[in-house]
Amino acid sequence: MKILKALMVTTAVSLALMANAAHAENKKIALVVKALGIGFFEAANKGAQEAAKELGDVEVIYTGPTTTTAEGQIEVINSLIAQKVDAIAVSANDTDALVPALKKAMERGIKVISWDSGVAKDGRSMHLNPSSSPLIGNMIIKLAADQLPDGGDVAVLSATATSTNQNVWIEEMKKVQGNYKGINVVATVYGDDLADKSYRETQGLIQSYPNLKAIIAPTSVGIVAAAQAVEDAGKVGQINVTGLGLPSEMAGHVKAGSSKSFAIWNPIDLGYSATMIAYDLIGGAEAKPGAELKMGRMGTVKLDDNNEGAMADPFVYDAKNVEEFAKIF
């Protein structure tokens, strides 16, 4: 198994090498993903290829292990070091396990960044988060407000009362609530990321607030359950379910009309931005706190004290694009 894996990696890498031979002057940026064959990362590769095309003198090597293991990624990274790539952009299977291999890469002058799933600070020069809590908090209420020009009552269906991510997002949402005139957040309920409890909580909201216009669910289990409950209650068109969800999970509910739009990161933009940042670093830009790195059409990313940056607002999916992305992730 191990030999087979090593063989596959070597073959993939040498194929990429041969392709590169024709353009020896090209800068080689390796996009290392958690595992090959995952729709989300295939989409990120699509974005990286787009960036390469735009930049002209860049060759993107899309690679990764066949299963989501840190050992597999270490093998891949070692062979990339041997090939002398110019940059490695990695979505890590383990925060710490990759650090020694990546440190070795940096010692050889290879620029290392992590994206999507980060590496510990020592193992990379910067980390690109798909988004940030303030951006997410703003986006989820904006999604609700966009469908409610005259304002109205909205409620939040969260995961558990103690889940950190959701609590931070909801807090950030409440901070910017004043920017959306007429939007009243009437309640926050907790579905515990269980389909049945989220469904029941949604039914409770529908009963308790007859004027409810939107339900914001910043959790993928919750948003699906809420959409189903709204459909079953015959409230499609009256109550809009929105929040954070995956296109493949939400496609049916967008079609049914219970959800007009929802958001999550766009993997294409993520792959694109990671490639652009890697290129910027190869070109001499320095990743340090406060620095701004260029991301092409996505603008710039500003690094915080941990050398982390947030790419953009979560990407909005609606009836126009959800079918297309549902095939990806």
């Binding site: 558990t160 009362a161 309640a187 309920v189 907790y190 269980l194 389909a195 049945d196 409890k197 469904y199 029941r200 909580e201 039914q203 409770g204 909201l205 009963q207 308790s208 699906v224 359950a225 189903q228 079953d232 493949s248 999970e249 939400m250 496609a251 049916g252 509910h253 079609k255 049914a256 549902a326």
Partner: protein
């Protein structure tokens, strides 16, 4: 004895009515007939599962793997439907019931033939079933748009004013009631749990009886698997995680003795309804989510405490008689 059981069920009915009344004070809309029908419908799956668990508990066993069995059967139902949308739904339901029963029979065989304690067996199969779902689905979800419309429509289709889901639970109650009161195997469940040694002398095979109890609970879990997945229109590894505790709680509240031999179909149904009313009331009476957890827990402990008291009293009476002799 029969009088005591009857009393307990009547007590439970009174408790449920009182509970609904108290909730109505805070949220009047709760007692609207349409809402009560909705609460029953929401509790239907729990009722079906509690009936199966009751049979197992009666034989002095326990089935912790029911929710995992539900999730695995539900995932299989969803995957079959996604791959072959043309398969008629009744056939699909029969398939998952058979699958659930087969999974339950694994529990039954281990308890019967290898004599492993039921709690250990079902704790093991619980994790095995959950793991199998992951292996089958590779962790991916089966989503609403991958399921056929017929697959999703059946439980919610109205039939004489109520959704099919509600009718299915009524059917399950009737079937299990007849099984429990009118068939030899149903009576054997009680005999095995009440006094296994005496049961052997009357010619009942204790292990075989327990095996059938597990098949019954498995089959009902399989049925619930389809119902759950189509009701919430999503299937993934963690569906109904932790639900086994709700099922056992419903049985305990319904007066089914964990020590075996005592219980009734009515008790299981009322226990489920009691829990169902609480689950549906908590979202509308507007109290903190932390208090909600505490309330659910407190109710279960009170129910167990009441049961323990009644059983102890029964013990004392027998001892007094023995002393007198």
């Amino acid at each position: 004895m029969a009088k005591l059981l009857k009393n307990r069920e009547i007590l439970l009915v009174i408790a449920i009515i009182a509970l609904v009344f108290v909730i109505a004070l805070r949220f009047p809309g709760f007692v609207a007939p349409a809402n009560l029908a909705r609460v029953y419908n929401d509790t239907s799956i729990l009722i079906i599962l509690a009936l199966g668990q009751m049979a197992v508990i009666l034989t002095r066993c326990i089935d912790l793997s029911m929710a995992a069995n539900l999730a695995l059967s539900g995932m299989v139902a969803a995957m079959i439907n996604a791959a072959f949308p043309g398969i008629p739904i009744p056939l699909l339901i029969l398939t998952v019931v058979a699958l659930g029963a087969a999974l339950g029979s694994i529990n039954g065989l281990l308890v019967w033939k290898l004599d492993i304690p039921p709690i250990v067996v079902t704790l093991g199969t619980l994790t095995i079933f959950r793991g199998s779902i992951f292996l089958l689905s590779k962790g991916a979800w089966i989503n609403a748009h991958q399921m056929s419309d017929a697959f999703k429509a059946l439980p919610r289709a109205p039939l004489i004013g109520f959704p099919v889901l509600s009718w299915l639970s009524v059917l399950a109650i009737a079937a299990v009631y007849i099984l429990m009161t009118r068939t030899p195997i149903g009576r054997a469940f009680f005999a095995v749990g009440g006094n296994p040694h005496a049961a052997v002398y009357t010619g009942i095979d204790v292990g075989r009886t327990r095996f059938f109890a597990y098949c019954l609970s498995g089959g009902l879990a399989g049925l619930s698997g389809y119902l759950w997945v189509s009701r919430y229109a999503v299937a993934y590894v963690d569906i109904a995680a932790g639900f086994e505790l709700d099922i056992i709680a419903a049985c305990v509240i319904g007066g089914i003795s964990i020590a075996g031999g005592i219980g009734s179909v009515g008790g299981a149904v009322l226990g489920s309804l009691f829990l169902g009313v609480i689950k549906n009331a908590l979202p509308v009476i507007n109290i903190s989510p932390f208090a909600q957890l505490a309330i659910s827990g407190a109710v279960i402990i009170i129910a167990v405490a009441v049961n323990a008291r009644t059983e102890k009293r029964k013990g004392r009476v027998i001892l007094k008689k023995a002393e007198a002799v």
